[in-house]
Assembly symmetry: D2
Homo-oligomer: 385 residues x 4
């Protein structure tokens, strides 16, 4: 174990996701026998005071205020991008050209064109790439995937997903970067809907066509900025236009014939982070909800009649993906662990010279769906994926 | 009380809904101080042996095998129509012209044109009319309505509803009348989706426009017939084409600006009769599920921070609609009670010469939405309501 | 069916339980093919205005104000006793001597001595007798019984039951008959604890020994009387001593080696009528809760590892006891239906000349346990049953 | 932050709890602004291969195979004891005499006499001491404590707790140290029941008297040893006697007049680690369950009538203890985080020269209750605490 190889990481960005990624690098080898271990070389942010504080807290060796200063450093193996969405493409392409492995937050980019250029860059330069759809790495979700692949649900009829938040219901919540199209690309759609769409692809396969509608319930907000993961402060004397969606609803048809419904909203009062899905197949069904992420509700149609019912499976057994590395059955894990699993997959990809998933290919497809949804909402028609 | 006036009822049809209605007439005055009481005069069905059995079991004075024989009888005050959908219009119009009060199962008719003629007939003849959207009469649902009307949820952003069943997932479930367009008009859409659409109108208001898609997962089935509420037997040697939808998904925009998502399916394995909705408003949210019909989950945004959460309200208190007539708080009621409340409203309408709701006007609007959904699914476009 | 034999019923008492029993007689033959049907002959109560109102509402042919006037009437087959507990013995013994079949509310009597005399009387006179532990007749509970009898849980290790109410937490709730030892025998113990104890006996077998403690949290209350099932009004200017327990907790050992814990209280704020139990066996476990009475949570240890979990079984299928008589799967029933099933069993006992259960023998055993619990609480020691 | 003082830790033991503690030391400063940070100096275990593996995995600088070699080392500030229970006293007393701060797993010792000697030692030597009742440090539990202290529940009537596990239901689960009285002191009682008892004391106050019973369902098991947190392997050819309880049930009276019921068992099939409690007060109630540790169910009696119900509070808001250090509201944490909070409190105690809680005083009281329970079970009588 002492002969473990080290991967040097430069983290571009340091807020909500910066913290989640940093923690994952630190905890990875405590729990998992990954062949690689991270060396937290440098963290990058434009605000020097803030990035310095993050550097100390997260345990990086140094900090920088301009990502261009680190992208070509020879002592860096991985560029980890957790900045706002409009910067992903430039940084990722530069990193690829510098021969760095890349992991980036979702959505991959502002649009399909950018996303494709990013994919092209990582392909051309032969680096490993990953996009942080961390919910794929919830043990219960991976177990759902296994059940589906094992044919335990049979032919899939329905996929229904909601991603419900409520952090901007208050009209005084300020106009932060997440609410500006030029920075974030879209609103609830790209921020949380993207996760639901990715999970659907992961679990039951590719989309065929969609129709969608989007709404911005509060059109103007006070100018302001994020102060934490999903918190912010603003100045109500200055108002600005919200240029992204507050909510999006989608009907989908999948290539396998299944019907899908999707909803992503930041206006579902009482739901802080309700990311859930239900899948109905001919032989069984599955329900899952991130607020109870350790549990999977599973129904098998061939259980004895009279004894049929959704089983509440606490996915904390040795048999369930990843959790054997933690605690005895019945002892739950939390949100942050999804990132550990994702980094575990990323490093295994690097170590074994194979592409981990989800990667930029998934990012491009996801971006295509996001763009189709925006197009559908605008043109009020079905759009092929 | 002994001077209670009697209403003579002729029930056309005697299966699932016939039983539910018969029971409601019988139990009404046991629980409620309704000014009227039912006299179960005659029950009508084409199969003499079956209708005779129903007559005895349900407690009707007599039976008939042709509804035409009862529609003009002077000793009949109410015609209650629980036959398959394609017969509603003819019976209802004849009943209206005979001056009878009418209560009919949903959906009102096979199409808007029929529905309008029915409405015209009851209006012209000045009779009371009602459509059996019984879920409006769940105490928890009526309490939800009250909360919304009292402004406890504020502006409404979202309405999301699923009506999930699974009784025809088996491809050998036969081609019964519920699966034939000429008899039932549509499949999951009119049978269960109609309930969800009506609840949405009742709770948050009128639809503005919709887009929808429909699917028939199993295209051919053995010829057969219903043997009970949702059970059937068939003959696999003879196959026939399923001409209705197995599932329908809908996006909606309401006139008040809210977004809606709807799904009705008979292919949601593990869900026997999962009729549920969630409503998100600026000041609160509500969740409800017919399988746990006595409970309403309610969230108030102005609860103290840290103590906020969905409250599981057992709607069995004196303060909740209807249930004061039953048992002490905490003692639940069931599916059949919704029909008692509906008949209670119907009879109060007759007694006070006012139109109960939901009535044929609601039926026409509902039919218009059903038709718009079918049109949208066929033409793959948004349709105004 | 028209040749169904009639059983003439005299109901002694007319409040909460009077209503529940009356309803059951009325609905029995609507749902079930019982060989007998009830004729509601006479209802008895001391307050003439109230009993007259009940007579009309519940549909009895006549009323009386003294039970002695009906007990020997030749046209009466069944005496149904729903009066306060201190009157059970006298009425039941008189009824037995008059050769009437008897059904009585629980607890059977004020003490074991009374209970034994009652049992002796019914035995000597060869009448059918039943005690209304209606929770045995919840379909989910009967299905639990079946699972246990089929060996699906294997050897039983644990039985834990709570019966939690909160209707007298307010110190101004008056001193009604339920709070007076001379009328009710005991408080939470006999009123609700008795149900839990009976369910335990029904499901896993006889008690061996118990230790218990009892508490009266509010020692004095305003004088007053019941105004409904569990509601009351009082006069705070006059106070009286509460002479029964507000709460009781019990440890038990069963003859089969299982451990039991029981708790009955009227001071469990927020729990209106939370009657629940959990059973753990070597091969499986069961959980049930009357507020969600249609559901049984079932765990099977031999489900595949990784897919194990409590199944939420909605006991509304044809395979589940009694419910096939009602509605399609997924359509729930309520509290009142338990009495229909119990009366169904009572009448079948009469028709087939066999003793239904639970009957006075169960009542005597239950009374012995109640008495042992009081003794244990008083003497602070374990008591053999 | 760079001037943070370092605390050197020697960890005695390296299995389930060793891992949990090690992780807590590592993650503490990532999330919390604790004035101190841990230096993981040395880990101790008798099996050299295993402890070496643990040293590398957990990140300790070195390892030792005899705790006596580290107890007096000048470079050690803290002795952390996670060995089997029979070794706690000797190690802790030696550590106290060496002037080390001590944190030890529960139960404190094998008996009250040992526990008292330990308390005496830490007092005499003026070191900080803590006992790892980590469940006190669940944010939802701390929030429950706050609600109670703020008087939101009013006078407390009931405390009911279950700690249900099922890892030894299989009679072939071997006779590991946890099942030997001379090593572990007791079985379910000391291992998990001790947690429930501590939570009760923490939340509502001191015990007055108890009565209890204990049972060993499987008297003989194959000889074997633990292979993980709660897993083991054995050799069925050699059987040995189980000398601890498989299950214990307890009735309690608290000094404040509340009634308590407790149950701890390893034979509750289907319950992997179901640690739960419910508290009923005159003004409100609380329910909590470790499997859903982030949630607290809270009922307030003064909520508007009709809108009353248990609120499902996701304790992940800034307002809830500790969780502000992690992720935005709605993003849950897991089992391991309880140890981070506990270590945070331990280090703050060291830094500020104040005794953290729970400490050896709590351990002594807890031990007294454990001993009283054993005495009560043996002598079959109530025992004063």
């Amino acid at each position: 174990m002492s002969e473990k190889q080290t991967v040097s990481v430069a983290l571009i960005g340091y807020q909500f996701m910066g913290k989640a990624h940093s923690h994952a690098y630190r905890d990875l080898n405590f729990y998992f026998d990954n062949p690689l271990k991270a060396e937290l070389k440098v963290i990058v942010g434009r605000n020097e005071a803030s990035v310095k504080e993050a550097q100390e807290k997260f345990g990086f060796e140094s900090y920088e205020t301009d990502w261009r200063n680190v992208i070509n450093r020879e002592d860096i193996d991985v560029i980890d991008i957790v900045t706002p969405n409009h910067t992903h493409a430039e940084i990722a392409i530069a990193a690829a050209e510098a021969g760095k492995h890349i992991i980036t937050e979702k959505p991959l980019a502002l649009n399909v064109e950018e996303a494709k250029r990013m994919l092209e860059a990582v392909r051309k330069n032969g680096v490993k790439h990953m996009i942080c759809h961390n919910y794929r790495y919830v043990p219960a979700v991976q177990f759902a995937k296994k059940l589906i692949e094992d044919g335990k649900l049979g032919r899939i009829f329905h996929y229904r997903a909601n991603y419900l938040q409520d952090f901007i219901v208050d009209p005084n919540f300020p106009l932060v970067w997440r609410l500006k199209k030029e920075v974030s690309g879209s609103g609830a759609l790209g921020d949380i809907g993207a996760h639901s769409l990715d999970l659907a692809r992961y679990l039951i396969g590719e989309f065929d066509e969609i129709v969608a509608t989007m709404e911005t319930f509060i059109k103007e907000r006070p100018i302001g900025e994020m102060t934490g993961g999903l918190s912010a402060k603003g100045d109500t004397s200055q108002m600005g236009e919200v240029t992204v969606d507050d909510a999006v609803t989608v009907l989908a048809r999948f290539k396998n014939g299944a019907l899908g419904t999707f909803e992503a909203t930041r206006f579902a009062t009482g739901n802080r982070n309700k990311n859930k899905f239900e899948i109905n197949g001919e032989k069984g069904s599955i329900r899952w909800d991130m607020e109870h992420m350790n549990f999977l509700e599973v129904y098998f149609a061939d259980d004895e009649i009279g004894e049929q019912g959704f089983r509440l499976v606490n996915c904390t057994e040795e048999e369930h993906p990843y959790v054997g590395a933690y605690w005895p059955a019945g002892h739950i894990i939390g949100y942050e662990h999804t990132f550990i699993h994702l980094i575990d997959a990323f490093f295994r990809g690097i170590a074994s010279d194979t592409q981990p998933t989800p990667n930029f290919e998934d990012g491009v497809i996801n971006q295509r769906i996001l763009e189709a949804i925006e197009q559908s909402a605008e043109e009020k028609r079905w759009v092929k994926i």
